[in-house]
């Protein structure tokens, strides 16, 4: 019911919402590197995805 009350953008007015620059991350490769390589290079324990996939060493 909460979400239904938010239905305020008709389909014909959704043109801009699907534009790449309106997405949380517009570049999948950049997002991949941000999630995996960046936290290790920054040296952070809580800044990235936090899962496995490589030792970062």
């Amino acid at each position: 019911m909460l979400f239904t009350s938010c239905a305020m953008v008709p389909q014909m007015e959704r043109e801009y919402l699907s534009d790449p620059i309106m997405l949380p991350s517009e570049d999948p490769i950049e997002a991949l590197l941000e999630g995996h390589n960046f936290p290790r290079r920054e040296g952070s324990a809580g800044g990235g995805a936090g899962a496995g996939g490589g030792c970062g060493c």
Binding site: E26, I29, E42, G52, G53
Partner: protein, 415 residues
Amino acid sequence: MEPVLEVDVVVKLLSIICILGILTTPFASDGESSLELSYEYFLDKNQVICYAPILALTLSINEFWSVSFDQEIDAVTGASRYAGYNEFNQTSPDASSGATHQLSPLDGLTGATKPEVRYAETISISRADQGRVVGASFYMSHEDDYTSYAPSVNISWDFNERNTTVAGGYSHFFDHYLSRPNFPPGGKKNIHSANASLTQSLSPLTIISLSGNYIDSRGFLGHPYRPVILDSGAIVDEKVPDQKTGIALSANIIQGYHLFDDYLGSINVHYRNYQDNWGMLSHTIDTKWYQYITEESYIRLRYRYYQQGSHDFIYATYSEEDKYRSADIRYYPFSSNLFGLKFSFAFPDSWQEASFLVPSRWRYKIDYLFRSTKENTDLYQDFNDRLWHTAIDRAIGVGDYYSQVDMLIGVQYDF
């Protein structure tokens, strides 16, 4: 310095690209398939360099199904072996035999010394129908001392006239630190990662999103290459708990606008809070400003601030009685500031019609990161007058700072 990417690796990568190009020809019909070739170049204050060529292929099989393949080769000039030295070709004694080695430059943050390459591949398949997407993927990576395999599933559901999207996913990582001569044995670790998100359109130019990520890690969670110096002067292995649970909560708002001859622009503000049962608490604020400068080309400015505390078992010194001990830079408090600039330009259709070698789009990104640890100097291990003082002092930036530059250039072919 020995080359990080050997000739045979480059040849293999080029071969993959050629083969994929041939294989993709039958799919070049519906305009939904793409091939992206990117190259990341990273350089830090301590002259550590990373190269990462990346290939990402997405093939649309029909109106519902698509498959994708990603290949990443991540090469670093200094991977962790011998912490404590910071000079190229510096001679060091072997920990066990007393023999000497010729070492490479250190990684700025990890105290790394050995060139290493990580090969990572991901294959995915997904089905999309009327805003409902189901997908599965399999990730695998290999280093000479580490392997990882991770199956994943994800689902996304649009409803409320597609103004609301609920999504979720689960991944299980099977990772393994392989045992290396003269170092502590590694071990296996299992990581369960589950995520969920809710995205809501509020207006034709406004989107908000809330998401959560639960991560449970078990097994060997430490690092075999980062020994600890006790207050007695003894050098001992790192010891950390064998279970960690972390939760990350994020909020994201994207506000679009029109400016400059009606070209679309947007402001993207993202906040992330992470905490785990080892006592870590971190905050991330990531802001991005996008602006189209032509119909299909845009620029992006970015500022990101990150701040973290420390794990509960992190102290300036350790004794034999301490249950847990670590000198891992990632567990200590710090803050960082990132400034970024990105261009994403579309090539004119006439250029693409002139030659199939002309891509649809090219991208270039450069990020500069400044990492400060000065305010937390007293929390670092006391390496004064110890064997590794100079290197660690330099590596973690005590009384100083650490910085890095990260560049990414790529081209995208749509077919």
